[in-house]
């Protein structure tokens, strides 16, 4: 641990400059961290993402480099102002940006931290929560985002709710952002709007700044740029055959967790430019008949891109997703009628609650409708549903989602898994069989 801290001091922080074209070399062994088991886990996945596929978009290099620096080398990530950690997508980051702080999404995908978390968490808790807590309990964890001035913990699922006290015990100041667990009622809307206001108050205490019309409007413009870039990238994924693979799309949005906002936008806009060219030149990333998959359920977070990678290495392509580590995080956009603080805050609050398809809510109609719409819109052939073992809400919704999809003749593969690499062999057989059955169906139809 001491070495790691030393390293963090020495390592040059990644500054907010334009995406560099230089490829971060792989062999360069910099530090004790990069020789650690944890770094090797990230390295192995990253190399697979890059090497197992031909003809990756050049603009993806920025993201490959970013992950190599942050996850494989443990370089620190510079940020201005206070650092606000968030444990779910419902924490309105516009408020954080408006008050001069920088949000960082803490949800973690590393098996290393999953194992650390398992030491003090119940055996049946989900990998994501275990890994997140495992990371928060470590000294100088990766990604190295620096000291957290506040951890915002939206009260979503039981495990995250109960994690709140544990995070506090680890020495982080925690703010519980009270999220209702029914979202249809008017009472829940009002309750949530009040919660968001309380969050703004709390931030004011942390940052010493006031929320004004000007800074909030500017923050909305910044996140809207990200949403625009995301939607443009998403639009390219409608093309058939695909021009962008799901593994890259997941990586891009995973980078949003910790990357500098403006630099991230710039990199995605560059990527979009290249995807546009690829579309025109009819360069395609997959075989013409590759089964098109919509990914749903527990979120793939780097380095745990196990399942999307298995799908795409087996010849499928993830064309869209309904997960909180990608689509659900950046898809929805805010509409404001009157650009005054109150109306902007209320509109923001609505955006974070109303379209959310998280399974923690009592009903899941919106999630089912969303999946059907994604399948239609992205001409998908099937759905892969990932549930982390221990994520009760996703496990419980599996049946109703499967029923709805089956009624529409859409095949679904349900996969219960976790962060450990042990089940990869077995999973790959199942994924291959699923993709094969889709191909057969397609052949039969034509």
């Amino acid at each position: 641990m001491k070495d790691e801290i030393e390293l963090a001091k020495r390592a040059t922080p990644i500054t907010a400059s334009a995406p560099s074209a230089t490829v971060v070399s792989r062999s360069e062994e910099l530090s004790p961290y990069s020789r650690s088991k944890q770094a090797r886990e990230a390295e192995r996945v990253l190399n697979r993402i890059i090497d197992d596929f031909d003809d990756n978009p050049q603009a993806m290099q920025y993201f490959y480099d970013l992950f190599r620096r942050v996850h494989c080398r443990g370089e620190s990530i510079a940020a201005e102002g206070p650092r606000i950690g968030t444990t779910c997508i419902q924490a309105p980051e516009e408020l954080i940006y408006a008050m001069g702080a920088t949000p960082v999404r803490l949800c973690n995908g590393s098996y290393h931290y999953d194992q650390i978390g398992a030491e003090f968490m119940p055996a049946k808790s989900c990998s994501l929560v275990k890994a997140t807590l495992g990371m928060l309990t470590s000294d100088n964890p990766v990604p190295r985002v620096g000291k957290l001035d506040l951890v915002v913990n939206p009260t979503t699922c039981d495990q995250k709710k109960k994690a709140s006290a544990m995070i506090e015990e680890m020495g982080h100041p925690v703010f519980n952002l009270e999220l209702p667990n029914v979202k249809e009622s008017e009472a829940s809307r009002l309750y949530w709007r009040r919660s968001v206001r309380q969050f703004a108050e709390e931030l004011r205490g942390v940052t010493g700044r006031k929320l004004t019309r000007k800074n909030l409007k500017a923050a909305l413009a910044r996140t809207q740029r990200a949403e625009r870039a995301f939607r443009a990238m998403d639009g390219f994924r409608r093309a058939s055959p695909s021009v962008l693979l799901g593994k890259d799309a997941f990586l891009v949005v995973n980078a949003y967790f910790f990357d500098d906002l403006d630099r991230w936008c710039e990199a995605v806009e560059t990527l979009n430019g290249e995807l546009g060219e690829r579309l025109e030149k009819a360069v395609r990333a997959v075989q013409k008949k590759a089964p098109r998959i919509v990914f749903t359920g527990s979120p793939p977070i780097f380095p745990n891109l196990k399942l999307p990678l298995l799908i795409e290495r087996a010849g499928g392509v993830v064309v869209s997703d309904e997960t909180c580590s990608a689509n659900r995080m950046l898809y929805d956009m805010t509409a404001v009628d009157e650009w005054l603080v109150n109306d902007m805050v209320d509109s923001l609050a609505d955006k974070y609650l109303k379209p959310c398809t998280c399974p923690i809510f009592t009903k899941n109609e919106d999630r089912q409708r969303r999946l059907l719409e994604l399948v239609r819109n992205f001409s998908a052939d099937g759905v892969v549903y990932q549930a982390f073992a221990g994520c009760q809400v996703y496990e419980m919704e599996q049946r109703s989602v499967a029923r709805t999809l089956n009624e529409q003749g859409i095949p679904m593969l349900y996969v219960e898994t976790d962060y450990s690499p042990d089940d990869e062999g077995q999973l790959s057989t199942r994924v291959e069989a699923f993709l094969e059955s889709i191909k057969t169906r397609k052949r039969m139809r034509t």
Binding site: Q224, M333, A335, E338, W339, D343, R370
Partner: protein
């Protein structure tokens, strides 16, 4: 002649490309600005049209106030309707009934052309409320909303006013009420005072002391006018929520040509439409089953369409033809405020 089989195909393609370009331009328009100018145009028409010699008849489905005797380009149907209903029953249900029916049919035809678009785009009282809203916004004062419960309760008032507007004149005709109550709704309508005032006609700004009934009616009128100004400063489209014309419209809206259509499959229920809705209609965001989404309080201002980020989720259609629809690109253009790149 050898080229002829080819050229129609080419021109058809050009035409389609042009039509698509035109549609994209409309869908990406700065909607609030377009609507502002349309409202200004219709305000001028409805308040000053008479000076230009325009006469659109006695059956207009909007507040072209009859008390604005010089400027009106026609008359709000509610005024003649109340007078007609106050005819003695024998006359009303006799030969004069034909005239009454004709008036209603003309009103109905006017109405179904624009549906509640009359409220959102044409009504001068609606435009005045929007201007008061703009003033409040400039002053940086936030608007208020009804709680869901009061919304549901208050929502009945317009039907009560509509019923009274029909029952009282019938009662006058049958001799139950005094003629001093004639055109009872007009007496309490803020339009009677406000709209003639735009042509410097302030004759309605009086309390009529000739009889007790007239005192009550004119005092009520003065009070609603005061309430109109205060209310619409606090609440967007305050008056429309209580307007019996709106209730009347809604009861007749089934066959309307102009429609607000929702494709629930495309809706993510993000609530953007709800948060811009002046009448705080919840169904616009929450109902994903009903394609005919124009609710009773809707004024068809189409702000919801302009604020919807999902392509094709909300549409304004005229006689089956889409004239304005929500698009992702249009949304992004309209909502791009602040320091955007």
């Amino acid at each position: 002649m050898r080229n002829s089989p080819e050229s129609p195909a080419v021109s058809a393609l050009d035409w389609r490309v042009l039509a698509q370009a035109a549609r994209d331009a409309v869908n990406a328009c700065d909607f609030n600005r377009v609507r502002f100018w349309l409202q200004l145009f219709f305000f001028a028409l409805m308040v000053y049209g008479g000076f230009a010699g325009i006469d659109l008849g006695l059956s207009l489905p909007t507040f072209a106030c009859g008390y604005n005797q010089t400027g009106r380009p026609g008359v709000c149907y509610l005024l003649p309707l109340q007078h007609q209903l106050a005819l003695p029953p024998r006359v009303l249900f006799g030969f004069a009934g034909i005239g009454v029916l004709t008036g209603f049919v003309v009103f109905f035809l006017w109405f179904i052309a624009l549906n509640k678009g009359w409220c959102g785009f044409v009504c001068p009282l609606g435009a005045i409320q929007d201007w008061i809203t703009a003033l409040r916004r400039r002053l940086g004062v936030r608007f208020s909303r009804y709680s869901q419960k009061s919304f549901e309760t208050l929502s009945w008032i317009k039907y009560v006013l509509l019923a009274l507007m029909i029952v009282i004149p019938l009662g006058i005709g049958a001799g139950y009420f005094s003629h001093d109550m004639s055109a009872p709704f007009c007496m309490i309508c803020p339009g009677r005072l406000i709209i003639p005032a735009f042509t410097f006609d302030f004759r309605q700004f009086v309390i009529d002391f000739s009889t007790p009934t007239k005192i009550v009616m004119t005092v009520l009128g003065a009070m609603t006018t005061g309430l109109f100004f205060v209310g619409s400063f606090i609440k967007k489209r305050f008056w429309c929520f209580f307007c019996p014309m709106s209730a009347f419209h809604y009861l007749l809206s089934k066959p309307a040509a102009f429609r607000l259509i929702k494709d629930g499959d495309k809706c993510t229920r993000c609530g953007d439409c709800y948060s811009v809705c002046d009448l705080q209609i919840k169904e616009i965001a929450d109902d994903v089953n009903e394609p005919q989404i124009m609710m009773e309080d809707c004024i068809m201002c189409l702000k919801c369409v302009a604020a919807c980020p999902e392509t094709g989720a909300l549409k304004a259609k005229f006689a089956g033809l889409t004239i304005f629809e929500s698009t992702e690109a249009g949304f992004m253009k309209r909502m791009q405020k602040g320091a955007a790149p």
